[in-house]
């Protein structure tokens, strides 16, 4: 049932994030009691000013979720080989359960090579090909945080995802496509639009829920939305010193049934999902360790 209103209900990303963090804190405390204190290591390279805000946010979120957090910075001239060596060290370090590679990276560092170098069990950002493969195969392990956050928000709405018509605008590898596969796994009929799509409006207007993740302010306007539909805005753009999403908020809020604000929508949930992934990764490593130990004992 879509919502029949004159103004969209605002989706409170901060409240959803707080709930997810509280769940993560519970799990983290239990793991810590069992001797497995979840720990994240953040790796920044070069001029970190652009990423500093993210790192601080993650650190704060980690503190409230009971996850240990260590920020490491390396100089600009660090070579890709050195970085891969550093990641291998973190992979091997049993006290580290999750590795975050802060972007942007200097131009000489191939980001995909670094993401592949993170052990899949420590891939809390969900960027390793094996993590993406799991998402495609509908085996929800460690998913890309932004995509999982958008889907978590969708789950809080009183809409039945099975059979729901969903349009996703933007087909990036870490947001648009994983959202498509996550929602498809939950039974939605998903259409993925992008810059080559002839008419995005035809698809967005037919959808019960629209996800937009392109990075173009004002891309989605009210007349592109079916009255009462949900609009999840994943874009983060700076316009005239203000942070705005990809949707023209005012016109969309007059038509949609639910809408995420920017800031305060998907963003905070993304950081909370990172903490959930940290806890999940720790649990997976604990189980992996116990299985290996048990089989060594038996064999």
């Amino acid at each position: 049932m879509l919502r029949d209103v004159t103004r969209a209900a605002m989706i409170d990303g901060k409240a959803i994030a707080a709930r997810l963090r509280a769940e993560a804190a519970n799990d983290a405390a239990r793991l810590a009691e069992e001797g497995w204190q979840p720990r994240l290591v953040s790796v920044s390279v070069g001029d970190t000013a652009a990423a500093d805000l993210y790192v601080r946010n993650q650190q704060k979120s980690a503190e409230s979720a009971g996850v240990a957090f260590e920020a490491r910075s390396y100089p600009h001239e660090t070579s890709p080989y050195q970085l891969i060596g550093i990641l291998q060290g973190l992979n091997a370090d049993p006290r580290v359960h999750g590795i975050i590679i802060q972007r942007p990276l200097p131009a000489h560092i191939p980001v995909k090579a670094l993401q592949k170098a993170v052990h899949p069990l420590k891939d809390v950002e969900g960027m390793h090909p094996a993590s993406i493969g799991n998402i495609v195969y509908n085996d929800l392990a460690l998913g890309p945080c932004t995509a999982v956050a958008a889907v978590e928000i969708m789950k809080t709405l009183p809409l039945k995802i099975e059979g729901l018509d969903v349009t996703i605008i933007g087909h990036s590898e870490i947001v648009g496509k994983p959202i498509a596969f996550l929602l498809m796994g939950l039974g939605a009929t998903v259409t993925v639009c992008h810059h080559m799509t002839r008419s995005v409006a035809v698809h967005s207007r037919a959808a019960d829920a629209v996800f937009v993740a392109v990075g173009k302010p004002g891309l989605v306007t009210g007349e592109m939305i079916k009255p009462g539909a949900a609009l999840i805005d994943i874009g983060i753009n700076r316009v005239d010193g203000k942070t705005v999403g990809d949707a023209d908020f005012d016109s969309c809020a007059r038509v949609a049934g639910w809408i995420t604000p920017v800031p305060g929508g998907v963003g905070p949930v993304t950081v909370a999902v990172l903490m959930q992934n940290a806890v999940l990764a720790t649990r997976m490593q604990k189980e992996h360790y116990q299985q290996s130990f048990a089989s060594t004992n038996n064999g």
């Binding site: 090909p129 094996a130 993406i132 493969g133 495609v136 195969y137 059979g163 496509k177 639009c193 002839r198």
Partner: protein
């Protein structure tokens, strides 16, 4: 309007010819012969037919074929040990484990034991993720065959509306990825989709992979659309005599052919492309394993 028929047999033959020519060149210039190892566990008659046909076509394009036939009672550890030895064998560039496996073997575990670079079926998790993130991967043969037919028929697919019916791991999902990669606007429809006929009617390209005989009717098809029918279903054919059967696709061919611009028949459409793509993947794997052959 009557649809043109996309002749999968003829197109597959041209793909095989192309592979054979490149294999010949590769042998001449480097002395390397691509090799495909096929592992068959048990006595499933359909699987035996596939494996025989794969082996024959592998040899026909000038590659080495290594068949490993194992008893249905082989242990998981022994099968994994065989895969490990094939992973380490430099003469083997492609490894295919014929599915389904007997119930006591964990298919996911076995498939993911294959070195992703030799996983010519494209089922390894890493290949799924590499495809999902637009990196060099091994692409599953059936959707790759469909994509090659679509490209051959249309040239560029950019901006076309595509509907994939079916969300299986081996066809529907990789097909959607490939069509997105070619800049189609893609909708993935499935058993939970409301108003399936309306969704299909929007499409310039329809790929049907649900496994339900003749489910998609002619009046679901937009006039002039291209219809790729991946389904292979055996149904009773009393008109051929008692107990006789025939193969049909997921599309009601007779009614769809009156509306579509182009359509693949069943049999003789997508089917023959699958092995041709397997051979093409094996050659690709061989070239990637031997970077000095990148010209081939």
């Amino acid at each position: 309007m009557t649809a043109s028929i996309i002749d999968g047999k003829a197109f597959a033959a041209s793909v095989r010819e192309d592979v054979a020519a490149r294999v010949g060149q590769l042998k001449k210039s480097t002395g390397i012969t691509p090799g495909l190892a096929v592992v068959l566990v048990g006595e499933d008659p359909a699987s035996q037919v596939y494996v025989r046909s794969k082996g024959k076509q592998t040899v026909e394009v000038g590659m080495n074929s290594y068949e490993h036939k194992l008893g249905a009672d082989i242990s998981e550890a022994d099968l994994l040990a065989l895969i490990e030895s094939l992973n380490d064998d430099p003469a083997v560039h492609g490894i295919l484990v014929q599915l389904p496996l007997p119930k006591h073997l964990n298919e996911d575990l076995v498939i993911n034991a294959i070195n992703p670079a030799k996983d010519v079926d494209g089922f390894h998790l890493s290949n799924v993720g590499l495809l999902g993130t637009g990196q060099d991967s091994m692409v599953p043969c059936t959707p790759l065959g469909c994509l090659m037919m679509l490209r051959d028929h249309h040239g560029s697919l950019s901006g076309m509306e595509a509907v994939v019916i079916g969300r299986s791991n081996i066809v529907g999902k990789p097909m959607a990825q490939l069509l997105l990669g070619d800049s189609c606007t893609v909708t993935i429809a499935h058993s939970r989709t409301k108003n399936l006929a309306d969704v299909v009617r929007r499409a310039d390209i329809v790929v049907a992979a649900v496994g339900r005989p003749e489910m998609i009717k002619g009046d679901w098809i937009k006039p002039g659309a291209t219809v790729i029918d991946v389904g292979i279903n055996r149904i009773a054919a009393p008109e051929k005599g008692e107990g006789k059967t025939r193969l049909v696709g997921d599309v009601d061919f007779a009614s769809a052919a009156k509306v579509a611009g182009a359509i693949t028949p069943v049999p003789g459409g997508v089917g023959p492309m699958t092995i041709a793509c397997l051979l093409s993947n094996t050659l690709t794997a061989c070239c990637r394993a031997n970077p000095e052959t990148s010209a081939a």
